[in-house]
């Protein structure tokens, strides 16, 4: 497994191996990282939207829903401590990882997250 630690204020997107992952921040300050691929047809989930009424992420392609409890339970193993996020990605521990900041349309509080276009590369 690849262990990555980063500042979630700077980065919210990781590409490692053949997969990519996006970070969601909930209004209570907790965070989950989820694979950026819908289980239905593989669409990028970070381009979905948040349905506040159903408390679920909705895929933009075919409206597949991911309730918050599913995101929390099925997300990438994640630790948030003292302003830093550590995630364990199921790729080789020596794999190269690229960190970026993207506009996560599925963000629960709908706050704009894009903008800086920050990018970085991280190893284990």
């Amino acid at each position: 497994m690849l262990v990555l630690t980063f500042d979630p204020e700077k980065f919210n997107f990781v590409a490692a191996g053949d997969d990519s992952y996006f970070l969601l921040r909930f209004p209570d300050g907790s965070r989950v990282m989820f694979q950026d691929r819908c289980a239905h047809r593989g669409s990028p989930l970070h381009l979905g939207c948040w349905n506040a009424g159903e408390n679920a992420l909705v895929c933009s392609s075919h409206q597949t829903k991911y309730p918050e409890r599913v995101l929390r339970r099925q997300g990438v193993p994640l630790i948030y401590r003292a302003g830093r996020v550590t995630v364990l990605l199921d790729v080789a521990s020596h794999a190269e990882a690229r960190l970026a900041r993207k506009n996560i349309l599925a963000q629960p509080d709908n706050s704009p997250t894009d903008t800086s276009g920050a990018q970085g590369t991280a190893g284990a």
């Binding site: 262990v3 300050g29 990282m33 929390r72 099925q74 997300g75 193993p77 994640l78 401590r81 521990s93």
Partner: protein
């Protein structure tokens, strides 16, 4: 009127050291104990008023493990009903609460003096009395939330964890740790006075090492199968298989002796930093409450796994500072055995626990790993800040002079206190919530920043005591009059 009052070291009346009979019925219940916060506060004041926890007459408390001063005035003035923030972790409230909580926890263990038990029998009986233990138990949940509540906010665990992920994460932590310098050891070596800095560090760890593994031994009894037996193996090693000379705390006593330090439990109570107390208390916090069992084994797995490398570097540091006269066997033994203990805690405790009790226990295990790192980092920060301040007492005297000469009104917000100390007055150490300026009007004041670390301030001179720094004062002259001002940021 500021709530903060920096009081002089004067003897307190302990006539209120009361029994449980004095406690009234609760009014507005709290969630944990069902007792109103104001009642809990009153119990704290009763607890702290026990003469055992009152001021002492010497900086080193010789061979009386029951005498453990708490800053009674801080207990009276602070609100313990809310969780502290991380940035408040070294303040006056935190120090008083950590001291109380440490005393509460340690009444579960047997402490006996080395000599003259008869003369200390009354203290022994008071320390283990039902009154002291029951009051302690009543205030414990509030103190725990006050001191460790911030961890709930600071740490969040999510996602689909597996035993393999835990193992990968732990291995990652160990590899990172073994590649890194140990900041507290580097700080000792770069101190202006490495010998005194090393003694300060030994004193900080003595509170734990002299009672080796007592906190984690809380999780040995009961009935929980294989994991129980594996935890027992670690404890057996720590206790030297019942051979006193091989017991780890005995080995540590030899380290202390060869460095010229006392070996009695809590002889240096006055000089335990808030962060060091926090680290000790954290282990008790998760090991005493068995609903936190999985958190505890996570913390122990990280602690045991990282301690091996720390011990190797600790041993190197001691030899660099003290040369051949120091006995480093305690650390050399841990370098060897904790490599095994780390593996044992991971492979034989954490992994079997996950296999048997399911993945749902993993977030608690990982939380324990993170909480321990968070508290360790606090303790390290506290130690290094104290070292820098204690190294710079002359500089702080110069700073005081500069502030005084530039006009006090511009820098000082308010006078906190004016006090008269007499030679031989009872002493204590405390920490302040803001930087303060001490000005001596007459006599000579000794400002103490740790064991064998002090500076004398003459009439007309002053010193700056930084926020959160542990300090005490005594009068070198028959009498000393001084003023304390709180400084603006």
């Amino acid at each position: 009127m500021r709530e903060f009052l920096h009081m002089p070291n004067t003897a307190e009346s302990h006539s209120t050291a009361g029994g449980v009979a004095a406690i009234n019925a609760p009014s507005t219940p709290t969630a944990v104990t069902g007792i109103a916060p104001e009642e809990i506060k009153r119990y704290m004041q009763l607890y702290a008023a026990n003469p055992l926890f009152g001021y002492h007459d010497k900086w080193i408390i010789s061979d009386n493990p029951y005498r453990r001063p708490i800053d009674q005035q801080a207990v009276t003035r602070h609100d313990f009903s809310r969780p502290l923030k991380r940035e408040e972790a070294f303040g006056s409230s935190a120090l008083a609460a950590q001291r109380m909580l440490f005393n509460v926890y340690e009444t579960d263990f047997v402490f006996l003096p080395e000599k003259d038990f008869a003369a200390k029998r009354a203290d022994f009986e008071s320390f283990y009395s039902n009154e002291n233990k029951l009051l302690g138990e009543l205030i414990r949940p509030t103190l725990e939330t006050h001191l460790f509540g911030f961890l709930e906010e600071e740490i969040d665990i999510s996602g689909k964890w597996s035993a393999a992920a835990v193992e990968s994460y732990l291995r990652h932590l160990i590899e990172n740790h073994e590649r890194s310098e140990i900041d507290i050891l580097s700080a000792v070596l770069s101190s202006l006075d490495p010998e005194k800095a090393a003694l300060t560090l030994l004193i900080q760890v003595a509170g734990d090492f002299l009672t080796e593994s007592s906190s984690s031994a809380r999780n040995l009894l009961g009935k929980f199968g294989l994991v129980q037996s594996e935890l027992f193996k670690i404890a057996i090693d720590d206790y030297g298989y019942g051979v006193h000379k091989a017991k780890h705390s005995t080995l540590f006593e030899s380290t202390l002796e060869t460095c010229g330090l006392a070996t009695e439990a809590h002889a240096y109570w006055h000089f335990y930093l808030t962060g060091s107390l926090a680290l000790n208390n954290y282990y008790h916090y998760v090991c005493r409450d068995h609903s936190k069992f999985f958190r505890a084994i996570g913390a122990i797995a990280v602690g045991e796994s990282l301690f091996a490398h720390t011990c190797r570097k600790f041993s190197e540091m001691l030899r660099a500072v003290f040369g051949n006269r120091v006995d480093t066997y305690y650390f050399d033994e841990h370098y060897h055995i904790d490599a095994h203990h780390g593996r044992m805690a991971t492979e034989n405790v954490v992994a079997p626990a996950i296999a048997k009790y399911g993945d749902s226990v993993i977030p608690e295990i990982v939380r324990g790993m993170e909480e321990l790192q968070s508290i360790t980092s606090l303790a390290d920060d506290d130690f290094m800040a104290q070292l820098i301040w204690a190294d710079d007492l002359e500089g702080q005297r110069t700073a005081a002079s500069r502030i005084h000469q530039s006009g006090l009104s511009q820098d000082a917000e308010s006078r906190i206190t004016t006090a008269v100390l007499r030679k031989g007055d009872p002493i204590s150490t405390r920490a302040c919530d803001a930087d303060s300026l001490w000005l001596v009007e007459s006599g000579t004041l000794e400002l103490v920043a740790g064991h064998d670390r002090s500076i004398q301030i003459e009439a007309g001179e002053g010193i700056v005591v930084l926020r959160g720094r542990l300090h005490g004062a005594s009068s070198v002259s028959p009498e000393c009059l001084y003023h304390v001002y709180e400084l603006k940021d």
